[in-house]
Chain length 428, copies 2
């Protein structure tokens, strides 16, 4: 499934501004917009960049075709000159940004868009929608991956979020280290591995639990996962091993006190000779619930609502701010919000051991990194064309795995705290 | 923009269950699935049904075309027989449900899907994704509309949620009584009125604030809304009236203490003779912030993050449960979750004054309502075909406006509490 034009996923005022700027000639001024979050969600210690790949896909489809322009005329959102301009619109500027899977902190310039005002202003909503959503999910998911301490997590939250957000959430969770997703469209669109066997409905459909298990094993083999808590868990496990034999792949428990249930299930399975049968648990798991099951004989987790809603922080709070016009730094003046004009370069300094020390945001372009510093932005788009060889989803996943290792030891704590490393602004 | 097939917006296990059930013949059993929420989000007093219209659209596009079936075979999600079955799949069952704009309470059966297991099981994820999202947004938005007490609210949260969720959120907020949205695709797809004039970037683009205002007034006329808080609000208002004259449509304030700012702005505008110029405020407004501005001279509100993220409850927590197989009631047994087998009929009883008294959920079909009771479900789909003459978005909006009037007086309070009316289960 590919979406047609993405051009109307846009706030009306972007086109209104464009129209006014075309009239007075300022539309052609060279501008730099930056995307950043002023702060992390309360108590979070790091954020995870995700969505950039999706944004570049959406950018390629950002065109005002005839139907789109007609719509805009009908609702009187643009005048004739603006309509003409949009009909020929094709982003021709540059985009730089943190690669997917990179960590970010307050004021990290995760995306920089440069071009004329006309080029860049219309991308605000699309860029923010994608980054705010995907970063929120990936940032929550990464904490769950840490909490799971190596045990695989299946993302199964599609039903708890918008049907298309579900696909993006599956991608972001996989990027963050989840093992798989329940969402089939995420497999088709992004190649994310999928998992899933049966719901309670399948057991209820049958005359009894044994019949349901027999049907499933017949179709999927003994290596499948049987859901054992529709009626009574102990009896469910008994039926499961009876039907599938001690080579049963796994049992899933979706209700009750999962820690207690997992211990009982392990004992029972071992007693039945099913020592290789794994235990999957699911049911309102967030990073804290996952961590609390660390000492129990759980083999893998299913996470749903918490991951697709960002575990309390459903949006990353990123903004798209104009910072430079024709080479001149600009900034809003406000008592409440710290703003920094001028195009930034971002570096991260590390100790010789690799541990991250500081996020350094320099109000300059073309900064030469110091010995223990590495530049954080990559060129993503040049002259409107996507740069070749950008990191794949698998590479982004690996990048994050490596990046989390560089966090200071308390950066991975689940408890509330300050950002894992400070952000420092400099002018050189 | 129309989306191609919606068939893969589905959890893998639905197809796995289908495959197993096709093998053992249970796929053809007649089933009833119900969608309901076990509880409202913490402290909420009512929910608002939204998304049903979107679901019916998505159902019409739920087909497994060649590419889709090929994908499923490639990822080994289905066997040959299941693939053949899906290639010819077309929902042929019935759907009944609460109309959009109706209130719901814990255990209200907001949607009932009947058909064979094969017909109905595959719709679980799609139905829940749409209803969980749209109901969450509409329920939050309705509280904001109440808090605004007649003043219009513009939905401007697109940038804080997934780009397609944004379109659905704009629709749900409008259904709940918002005046307009910033989202252009919501205008195209659903006819929602749009609004929007300029961001701070437009002021920063120009050499000074006056030049920016002059450009905007030149393009949009003096009736436009000027954003006056880029630098200094008092000076911004001075410039705005200087440029547009006392006939200026409105000023927008997006930062600072909005109540204090609105009072100062009103005095200043009146002093300048701009007594008809309206004041629009925006910036992290939720229902509580909107209510707290009730006594200030604000004319309209812009709401963003809070509405598109459900104001703390980004998902409605609805489930899709099998309740009947071949006429036999079925239910999961669980210590923690109240389940009720059998197909339900829903009624709401009212006092002669119109005030709602109870949500009555009867474990029977074809119940004759008592004198003060009205049935809550409509037929939506019959034999796979959408029923003609279903309520439009405008009708749903009106329905909600009328429904909120029927709530007991404390049902509209913003503070945390119990559901506005109790849900009673009966068997006759």
């Amino acid at each position: 499934m590919t979406l047609p034009t993405t051009a109307l996923l846009t706030d009306r005022y972007e086109l209104t501004m464009l129209g006014s700027a075309l009239r007075d000639g300022t539309a052609h001024r060279e501008c730099v917009f930056e995307v950043f979050a002023r702060r992390l969600p309360e108590g979070r210690r790091y954020g995870v960049v995700a969505g950039t790949g999706r944004l570049l896909d959406a950018l390629a489809d950002f065109r005002f075709d005839d139907e789109t322009v007609t719509t805009l005329r009908e609702i009187d959102a643009v005048d004739d000159a603006t309509a003409d301009h949009l009909a020929g619109y094709r982003f021709q500027g540059d985009v730089d940004g943190y690669p997917e899977g990179e960590l970010y902190f307050p004021h990290s310039p995760v995306l920089t868009v440069s071009g004329t005002f006309a080029d860049a202003v219309v991308l605000e909503t699309l860029a923010l929608s994608i980054l705010n959503h995907d970063c929120a999910i990936a940032s929550a998911a990464a904490r769950m991956v840490t909490a799971a301490a190596g045990r695989p997590i299946i993302e199964m939250g599609s039903r708890r979020t918008h049907e298309q957000a579900a696909v993006a959430a599956a991608r972001a969770a996989y990027l963050a280290g989840f093992a798989s997703t329940s969402n089939l469209e995420a497999a088709r669109r992004y190649g994310v591995p999928t998992a899933g066997t049966a719901a309670h409905a399948f057991t209820l459909l049958h005359d009894d639990e044994r019949a349901a298990f027999a049907a499933q094993v017949d179709a999927l083999g003994a290596g499948t996962t049987l859901l054992v808590d529709t009626y009574d868990i102990a009896r469910g496990i008994e039926h499961a091993v009876e039907v599938a034999g001690p080579g049963l792949g796994a049992v899933r428990i979706d209700s009750g006190d999962l820690g207690v249930m997992a211990r009982h299930a392990r004992e029972q399975l071992d007693g039945l000779g099913a020592t290789g049968t794994k235990i999957v648990v699911s049911g309102d798991l967030d990073e804290f619930a996952i961590a609390s099951l660390g000492a129990t004989p759980v083999d893998s987790y299913g996470a749903g609502t918490a991951v697709v809603t960002g575990s309390g922080a459903p949006t990353a709070g990123m903004v798209y701010k104009l910072v430079e016009v024709d080479g001149r730094p600009v900034e809003k003046r406000s008592a409440h919000k710290q703003s920094h004009g001028g195009r930034k370069t971002a570096l991260r300094s590390h100790k010789p051991s690799g541990t991250a020390v500081e996020e350094i945001v320099v109000a300059q372009r073309d900064v030469t990194p110091g010995e223990d510093e590495r530049p954080l932005q990559l060129p993503l788009v040049r002259g409107g064309e996507r740069v070749a060889g950008l990191p794949t989803l698998e590479q982004a996943r690996r990048h994050l795995r490596e990046a989390t290792v560089t966090l200071p030891w308390d950066g991975l704590k689940l408890s509330r705290g300050e950002p894992a490393i400070p952000t420092r602004f400099t002018h050189d």
